[in-house]
């Protein structure tokens, strides 16, 4: 119990499990493997953006341009495929687009010291505008079918994209635990000046976080286009906020230095699963946002109360310990005094 209370990913995962069982009891179809696989499949876009977002938030920054970067990358993918570029090169181009977009944010934040929310809000506008400029404002509807084969490819009945994305998430989690450079992210997010004084390359760390955010947005764009086979103008619109919601839901702290990629995975899965549950409960789709927002607020609020309760408990325990130790210190003295009193 204590572990669940202290570990936010576990808390959210348990809530998700309970919800799945409850919905399954109401509508057994929900528990069919295809449904569950579909949920995971449709969460991939959000999941990848959220992992990218997590790098930035770990350093105590914020990136509100992730959705726009994904949109821009998706447009590049669509345009280059239509221009006859081979699939593999087009995918590399897409990833590079994301990386470049992230690098622009990184330069603004590190070299010009623009506050992250302003830098990325500005680039959000710029990337959305570029996206409309490149396409002339119309959807890219006819894309060679080669890209859809990427999404159709399955291993053991599960789309390969799921395997790849989960493998990436696990690899990132492993790297965050064991790689020195990845640990820098936590140090910088927890205490930037302290990290600087320790000799950690603060600017390079922040720089790479924004680049990674862009790179993952590019990867999300590949998944998105592969899954739906065309590029609407709204690609990624509003997703940056959902990604932040997912990451925070999974336990990454906006004050930096706390969380890992599993937080992003759990958060993204949760938000997507809730959307699907609403369908099974026959609640109209336009309630999704209201429910998602309410859940985010509830989880964040409950988490705050739990943290307060845990802190109080610890302080009370410490107070009791202090009492005991002072009693022990005083008691022998009191005892000897009384003995001495008797002796006289």
């Amino acid at each position: 119990m204590n572990r669940i209370v202290k570990n936010r990913e576990l808390l959210v995962l348990v809530i998700l499990g309970v919800l799945i069982v409850v919905i399954g009891a109401i509508s057994p179809n929900f528990l069919r493997p295809t449904t569950l696989i579909n949920i995971v499949n449709s969460s991939l876009f959000l999941l990848l953006i959220a992992i990218g977002e997590m790098f930035v938030i770990l350093t105590r920054g914020i990136d509100v341009s992730t959705g726009a970067m994904a949109g821009l990358a998706a447009v590049i993918l669509g345009v280059s495929l239509n221009a006859g570029v081979p699939l593999s090169i087009a995918i590399v181009l897409t990833l590079l687009t994301g990386l470049a977009a992230g690098a622009v944010n990184a330069v603004g934040v590190t070299a010009f010291r623009v506050p992250p929310i302003i830098m990325t809000l500005g680039s959000l506008g710029v990337y959305r505008g570029l996206m409309l400029l490149i396409t002339g404002g119309s959807w890219i509807e006819t894309i060679p079918h080669s890209i859809k084969s990427v999404a159709a490819f399955r291993v053991a009945g599960v789309p390969a994209l799921i395997w790849i994305s989960l493998a990436i998430a696990v690899a990132v989690a492993f790297a965050l635990k064991n790689l020195k450079q990845a640990r820098y992210l936590y140090a910088v997010g927890d205490n930037e000046e302290g990290a600087f004084l320790l000799g950690i390359p603060v600017k390079a760390t922040i720089f790479s976080a924004y680049c990674l955010s862009g790179l993952f947005a590019g990867a999300a764009a590949v998944v998105f286009v592969a899954q739906i086979g065309f590029v609407p103008m709204q690609t990624g619109s509003g997703q940056e906020l959902k990604a932040i919601a997912a990451v925070v839901l999974g336990g990454v702290s906006l004050s930096g230095g706390v969380g890992n990629s599993m937080s992003a995975v759990v958060g993204a899965l949760f938000l997507t699963a809730v959307d699907s549950m609403m369908i099974f409960l026959k609640v109209p789709g336009f309630w999704n946002n209201a429910v998602g927002g309410a859940i985010l607020l509830a989880v964040v609020f409950i988490d705050y109360r739990i943290r307060c309760a845990v802190r109080d408990q610890q302080q009370r325990a410490r107070a009791r310990e202090m009492d005991l130790s002072t009693l022990e210190k005083n008691n022998p003295a009191a005892g000897s005094a009384s003995v001495m009193g008797k002796a006289t």
């Binding site: 010291r113 929310i117 302003i118 809000l121 500005g122 506008g125 505008g129 906006l254 927002g293 607020l297």
Partner: protein, 355 residues
Amino acid sequence: MIQWRWLRSWEAVLVAALVIELLVLGAINPAFLSVENLLFSTSDFAHVILGALGLTLVVITAGIDISGVSIMGLASIVLGLSWVAGADIWVAVAIALAVGSLGGAFNGMLVANTDVNPLVLTLGSMFMFAGVATGLPGVLDLLGFKAYGAGGFAAYQYEGITGLPKEFTALAHGGVGWVPNPLIAVLLFALVLSLILHRTRFGRYLYLIGVNPNVARYSGVPVKSVIVAVYTLSAFGAAMAGVILTSYFTSARSDLGSEALLNIITAVVLGGTDILGGSGTVLGTLLAGLVLGFLRQGLLALGVSNDVIPIIVGGLLVGTVAMKLGLIAFNQRRGNRRAYQLEISETREGGGSPA
């Protein structure tokens, strides 16, 4: 002396930018530079300034409120539904403003009573308010209210509510002389907020909380109620913007204003308010809102496509902030060098005497 000082302030820079902008746009397209045209084009972005004015106060307390854009839609749909449900149109306006303010109070309570980043909290409530605004018509059907039209309230969900009374829709299109009513609302709201911010104790509290909430609390500032009040005030501005948009577009829709977020925050930041809290003025936001709004109108009038405008606005936002930060760093460095040289020359002069 005082006037010279004012000329060096950020507000003066904004006034200069506004004048230059109007002159340049007017030189390219003289038709743009008629006073009547300029004044009436403010109606297209009055809602952005209203949202930004309230947000300025929130940002001064080192908070942020991104749910304002959803409050606009919520206020609009509440107004429409109350009217359809039989309320007098002015009562409906009052209900809309009250519901919007309540939403703000809800935000304020969350921010005041937790240590969670306001960005996360208002992000959650932004989704929630937007969802409630789209879902509300259906709820009224479920609760058994009677609508006049066919299909119940749910029919209004996507089409919006039209056919609002003339005296209400005329509001945003009318004006006093050449000054349109939305602009009057903006100026009045700016005046009131400006008085609150710069002439009351409450206003000073906002700056103090923005600089250091702990110090504020230890010096006896009722931090929690001030925070609740400031988020409520901000939401009231957004609700007012929703009402004005409803009147301007002559229909109540749940998605009114949803595109304004980037522009609202840009106006606040361009107005010189520090996103980290502790400084900012209402006048700055008002001027920045006008600069941005006229820029947009002017570019549209020049035939620049709507797609390019976010690029320009985004570039402007980042560029201004980078320039301001660079200027601060430059001044600081210059000041440091000056102080250093002064120190050196003093120690040289007085080098012999202390010993």
